[in-house]
């Protein structure tokens, strides 16, 4: 029973999260529409419905604060959709704040601690609702409407009918027959066809025209489009005008929702947007309405299931074990192959083994695929942050997104939001200059932040780029010296790019004035640590006056890895192949020592090398001959010197026990399938550790 209770609660959390995410998308659309003088009543109603559902389920599950917050929002949205409060930037501010509050409350329910300021949000919302105007008198008398129809309208439908009636927009009745099996898609298609020309006020199933497999809907339309054109749009079904009782109709569009003077309601938000200058493929972040509609359609036909990611982890572990079985069978095969008398059996087993291998790969790909989610959801959330931070700083910022459909492991996505939010706040707060500064420099007063994501081999690369002031190396250096993060003598030898990397040091804060927005006591060092924990790295590239780009390189999944197994003395280690660029013979004479560090030259470039025997103090004698495993992550490269390479193998990394959790340099342990358990090197940590313990930079960096 308690399992059942947990399952129901998970269902609640998942659905609440979905609602908040789609609220966020719809609000961005509304915001965009409002700025361009358009408002879509369907969209306002859809936001209302989402909040309404959230209020209901939060109440059912006993989350009072969540339910009350949704209730406040619902109240405001009810006023908006019924036309009593205007849709303006001020009301949108309150709505965005509300969504943020909901998000935080949900976080608190999930056990992530968040402080939530309910009071400020409530003040804002009640201020708006208090201003609302009184509803107008009944204009419906002008139409010859069937009174029984009015009895099945919801309050909102009735409001839309009245609004149109006040403007004396002609009304039409259309009877359309649908097959029940395909009504969802057929009705959506009809709605899409009619949307630019008419508002669908309601559709009512008619009792007489409906059978077991089909249903007749009576669709009530308000439209200023000429009847002939409407008939073409509707198709085969007859369109019947509803007679007016008095006066000629005024042919004009329905009133705009809210106060915007140029708004038209009939036109849907047409996301035909200017392309961003930063990229040819760029799209401004106005989330697609279709995606939301699709999601709802998918949910309605109930073809999806929600699965706890822990269950997928378990499946992945089983697949890992199967991989080990496969290797073991492979070794038996090798032994069989040596026996000439068993040749027929061995070749049959070989065939079976190959087929097993193929299916196992397909299974693994399938499970990995299920774990993948597009980055778009995360980007939507960031878009909200950009809007909010820009408004608080009184800056104009446009967000351009590329590659929102790039997919990455669900677990990684969840851990990615905080570091990305930090980068976004930095970019808006410190990167983009004020309007006046930009004007002085001859830049467009609207700053641009670009989020680019793409797949690169086994990694996903995410770039956060702004076209702001860039990082000033002199100021960074001054701050680093002031904070004793680097000493003056060493500092003189650093080039500009090396100086900029100092912003990642703990204790460094980039802002001269620490603002509430970006200076929440969290620095870029925490961002780097969090990204490192995901097996990724962060790089920084900045040009003064032109802008700054942070590049995050992350593994696509944490679940299963191809690894290179290598030996140092009597020890065996595995390293994820994703970070291995190549492996070479080590020519002992090619090693040079510069500034106390060993280097080799690889195709004309210096490559720092580290010996695992020394790094881990294994106490084994250093052999003269060996291999260099060249690892690279982002822009950093490091050669790891080992004695021998054993080969490549798929591994499932298991975490180290709690007592070893704080040991740096290892991502975990794995079973190689031949009774050997070996340690898996944590490549990002090694690269960080070795490369940042630059002897020229003082101990502050470690």
């Amino acid at each position: 029973m308690s399992d059942e209770a947990d399952r129901v609660r998970d269902e609640f959390l998942a659905e609440s999260q979905e609602i908040v995410e789609s609220l966020s998308r719809d609000l961005l659309l509304l915001d965009h529409g409002q700025k361009h003088g358009r408002a879509d009543p369907d969209l306002v109603n859809s936001v209302f419905r989402g909040v309404h559902t959230l209020k209901g389920i939060a109440g059912m599950f006993g989350y009072r604060e969540l339910s009350e917050t949704a209730h406040v929002l619902e109240d405001l949205l009810d006023h908006l959709r019924l036309g009593r409060v205007a849709l303006a930037q001020s009301s949108l501010d309150v709505l965005f704040e509300g969504v943020e509050v909901l998000q935080r409350l949900l976080g608190a329910i999930r056990g992530e601690s968040h402080e939530v300021d309910l009071a400020s949000f409530r003040r804002g919302a009640s201020g708006l609702v208090g201003q609302s105007a009184a509803p107008a008198a009944d204009p419906l008398a002008a139409y010859d409407l069937d009174p029984s129809m009015l009895g099945v309208l919801t309050e909102y439908e009735e409001h839309r009918l009245r609004t149109n009636a006040e403007q004396r927009v002609p009304l039409y009745r259309v009877r359309v027959r649908f097959a029940l099996s395909s009504i969802d898609t057929d009705l959506d298609a009809l709605k899409a066809r009619l949307k630019p020309a008419a508002e669908i006020l309601t559709y009512l199933p008619s009792v007489e025209g409906s059978g077991d497999d089909a249903i007749e809907l009576e669709v009530l339309l308000a439209s200023s489009t000429p009847l002939a054109e409407l008939r073409v749009l509707v198709g085969d079904s007859p369109v019947e005008p509803i007679p007016m009782r008095e006066g000629p109709s005024r042919t004009m569009p329905p009133p705009p929702l809210g106060a915007s003077p140029t708004g038209t309601i009939a036109g849907s938000i047409a996301p035909v947007l200017s392309r961003a200058p930063v990229s040819d493929e760029g799209r401004e972040l106005v989330p697609s309405r279709d995606a939301g509609a699709e999601a709802i359609a998918v949910r309605a036909v109930a073809k999806t299931v929600r699965v706890d990611i822990a269950k997928l982890d378990h499946l992945m572990n089983v697949i890992g074990e199967l991989g080990i079985v496969r290797s073991a069978v492979g070794r038996v095969l090798d032994r069989l192959g040596a026996r000439a008398d068993l040749r027929p059996i061995s070749s049959e087993l070989h065939r079976i083994h190959r087929s097993f291998e193929r299916h196992l790969e397909a299974l693994q790909d399938g499970v990995l695929d299920v774990r993948m989610v597009p980055l778009g959801q995360t980007f939507d959330r960031l878009a909200r942050a950009v809007r909010q931070v820009a408004r608080e700083h009184d800056k104009e910022v446009r967000l351009v997104v590329n590659g929102g459909d790039t997919e990455i492991d669900k677990l990684i996505v969840e851990e990615l939001i905080d570091p990305m939010l930090h980068l976004i706040r930095n970019a808006v707060g410190h990167g983009i200059e004020s309007r006046e500064q930009r004007a002085r420099m001859g830049k467009d007063p609207t700053g641009i932040i670009a989020l680019n994501a793409y797949q690169k081999g086994n990694h996903v690369v995410i770039e956060v780029e702004d076209d702001g002031a860039g990082i000033d190396p002199q100021r960074v250096l001054a701050r680093a010296v002031e904070r004793h993060l680097v000493d003056l003598g060493a500092a003189r030898e650093l080039d500009d790019q090396a100086i900029k990397q100092l912003v990642f040091l703990p204790g460094f804060s980039t802002a001269d004035q620490v603002t509430d927005l970006s200076g929440r006591g969290v620095g870029l060092d925490v961002v780097r640590t969090n990204i490192g924990r995901l097996g990724g790295v962060i790089d920084l590239h900045s040009t003064t006056g032109i802008g700054t780009k942070f590049t995050l390189t992350l593994p696509i999944t944490l679940a299963i890895l191809s690894a290179l197994v290598m030996r140092v003395g009597s020890h065996t280690f595995a390293i994820p192949l994703t970070v291995v660029q190549e492996a070479l013979f080590l020519e002992p004479r090619s090693i040079r020592v510069v500034d106390g560090r060993e280097l080799i030259t690889l195709r004309g470039q210096s490559l720092p090398v580290v010996r695992l025997t020394e790094l881990f103090r294994l106490g084994e004698p250093t052999r003269q001959r060996g291999y260099v495993v060249v690892t690279s992550l982002g822009q950093r490269r490091l050669g790891i010197v080992v004695d021998a390479l054993e080969g490549q193998q798929d591994i499932v990394t298991k975490p180290l026990g709690p007592s070893l959790q704080n040991v740096r340099g290892f991502a975990g342990a794995t079973d190689l399938g031949d009774q050997r358990v070996v340690l898996v090197l944590d490549a990002p940590a090694l690269l960080d550790e070795v490369l940042s313990s630059d002897p020229r930079v003082s101990a502050g960096a470690a």
Binding site: V8, I57, Y203
Partner: protein
Amino acid sequence: MLDRVLVVDDSNAIRAFVRASLEGSGRARTVVEAASGFEALRMLPRERFDAAIVDINMPDIHGLEVIKLIRASKAHQGVPVLAISSEGASKDRERALALGADAWLDKPFTPELLARSIDDVVERRARVPSSEGGP
């Protein structure tokens, strides 16, 4: 105990809640879920239900219409129908009752309140002959 109860609601969480409440308390052997009004309409001619719980605020056709069609169908015109929705929508409530819902339950409700309401509507229906079921 009711054999099959239909719950029509677009919220996964509410359907799960209703299912757990009714099956857990022994009020229903099976709770059949419909995630939309249309899904409910597809089920009505093909399946038999002993009671229906209908949410009013749904995205495709709303609950008022589902209730109207339940009352218009031969097989289900006499089944107990409980309308559920959030409080406040007083007009919707009047209309649901006028269209043939036996009772209205405001969200949020507890499993106990839901169970009691179901007992209540079933008992009330049992007292009227099914031919008088329609509005």
